[in-house]
Symmetry: none
Subunit: 193 residues, 4 copies
DNA sequence: CATGAATGAGTATTCATTCAT
DNA sequence: AATGAATGAATACTCATTCAT
């Protein structure tokens, strides 16, 4: 569609990787979907794997930015956690392709040593876990939570957030509690009355 | 090892699927790993996909049985939930190959309509969610919990259990809270003092 | 069906060779069709090619015998030729499987040097051509025909007979003149008034 | 030979299909014979069967054109029939490869429903039979023949023409009457003095 | 006579990638 | 920037045949 064929290739690849998986997508499929010839893929990228790397980097960049953009000034620290949870529940609906792309392909890619996926997963880990940890520490300091130990709690919350995204992506038909139920669950665990 | 070459094939395949993924494992690799010739794969199985199906069915059968075998008589309902969490944390250590096999390959397989993986995932869903739901309902009845609504809580706990398995499988090096921290997190959410 | 499994194998093979061709019929198909295991084929025969040879020999033996059994005493020599034509027109209806078996597979087999088919085709040639030639010579001697030269006429008549069989076998749906038209055509060519 | 590798593939395939049969010709053989790599076969054609289809279509197109090109203005209608017979006797000598290709492979292909061979055989049927039928009708009208019934006669003559081609192709060593004998045979059947 | 298990050699086809232009 | 032609290396799968029992 766009005049930029390089972007067409990235779009077509993302669509195909997301709907069929990396290994089941051939360069010919990509070329056809992008209305381009195969050699052009190699003019713009080093190869199929390179296209995949570019895509997940782009996707992750946007994701990291969105987390960065979450409101910094909130009445309570818990509100920040609630925002994080809400954000992840929304992604699955707003960016289903990107969610599928990462969640379906990365587990396999992680089996390969030194894959680009690994560093991205680690970055996500750092960013999200850092976000949570800051909230917890600030909340503890304020007496809002009595979340102890912070690091363990952070991992548990991070896991929950991740799994939310996964379920909403792959089990679309299954019932899933609305945001409030999830947020309430966490609130109960963090805030003892 | 065993005299039974059919089992050798299943073992070799499981190992390779778990360590490299289904698509990156060739029938020749399987044959070599199993110290067998390629045509024998086709004598015992319909094809590569059939081998995969047999393996995940076997793995799931054992998993379902293990859940069935969890102690039925416990002092508290929460103890049952704690057992479920402990069981999943142990699997990743006792059966790392099987955990990797399923968690790495199934997301991709789920993209294909009508794949055997889908029904297995649904069975797991039913079994584990059923287990949790029973605990919650019994616990609510006894006044042990005030978990409301039951179905939402069950899904959240199920998600947590799943993600525990995933993280322990793929992020072995990352720190992970010991059992007690996870169990405590849930206890705080379920049991208000 | 029969207790004789060797015959079952021959029957099953004939059926499959006739309906799918030699190369498209696998030994496994034969075994299944004959309700027998593959190694038994090799107990009774040297191999797939050997089964084929046995079948075409049997078929040809019966064919040669039938020609031998055509009535020897007829009012006219032409009646003998008419009988030969009628006999071939009937085969396609009475023995469609055997006709298909030979006519579909032999052309290809003839491409291979020294194939059993070759000698059989030559035998058929000799027998039928001999039959025709005798009729023509006797008819010429009696003044019934003025068929000259005999050998050329014999080949032409033989060709016509062969093609009749072929068309009735492969072009079942196409219209085909009844016996009388063919016989009449030959009569006109042989018997000048 | 030619710079056009696509044509090289067709030539090599035709040669091999004609001398060994479709099923006994592997794609590797074709590639080697055409001095080309195997994947190129799949770049230019959909597969082995597609190569075969292209060849028989080409062969048939040329055949149909040659029949179309037979002289339209002849002194007698019989001369037209004689030309048809002569034409077929010449094909076997001028185009032995193409004759073998079709006559050896098509009977088998006809066993498969909906094969390209079927429609080609039917086209040939229509063309040749139409040609003969026109001659007979015109000849009858002029009083040149008393060929009755026309359609039956046409089929018989068509059969004869077909079998001539077959025998000259497969039984090269066998004696075969010269053109004049065949033509004379037909003349006697058609033209009563 | 009969078979379950096993295999050497192949068989059509695919795929990521490159080259010449 | 773009492509038609071409390929090395697989890749899942098949087949006639044999062996041990």
């Amino acid at each position: 569609m766009a005049k930029n064929k390089k972007q067409d290739i990235l779009d077509a690849s993302a669509e195909l990787f997301a709907s069929q998986g990396f290994d089941n997508t051939t360069t010919l499929m990509i070329a056809k979907e992008a209305r381009v010839t195969e050699p052009l893929l190699y003019y713009h990228f080093k190869g199929k794997e390179d296209i995949f790397s570019k895509i997940i980097h782009d996707v992750f960049k946007e994701y990291a930015q969105a987390i960065e953009d979450l409101p910094k000034n909130t009445d309570t620290e818990f509100e920040k956690l609630a925002n994080l949870i809400r954000f992840h529940m929304h992604i699955a609906e707003k960016r289903p392709r990107e969610a599928r792309l990462l969640l379906a392909n990365c587990p396999l890619k992680l089996l390969q040593r030194n894959h680009a996926c690994k560093e991205i997963m680690e970055s996500q880990h750092e960013i999200v876990q850092g976000y949570i940890q800051q909230c917890l520490e600030a909340g503890n300091a304020k007496g809002e939570f009595d979340a102890q130990p912070v690091d363990h709690m952070a991992i548990i919350l991070f896991s929950l957030v991740n799994e939310i995204l996964r379920r909403k992506t792959f089990c679309k038909d299954d019932p899933w509690p609305d945001e409030d139920a999830v947020i309430d669950f966490c609130k109960r665990a963090l805030i003892r009355l």
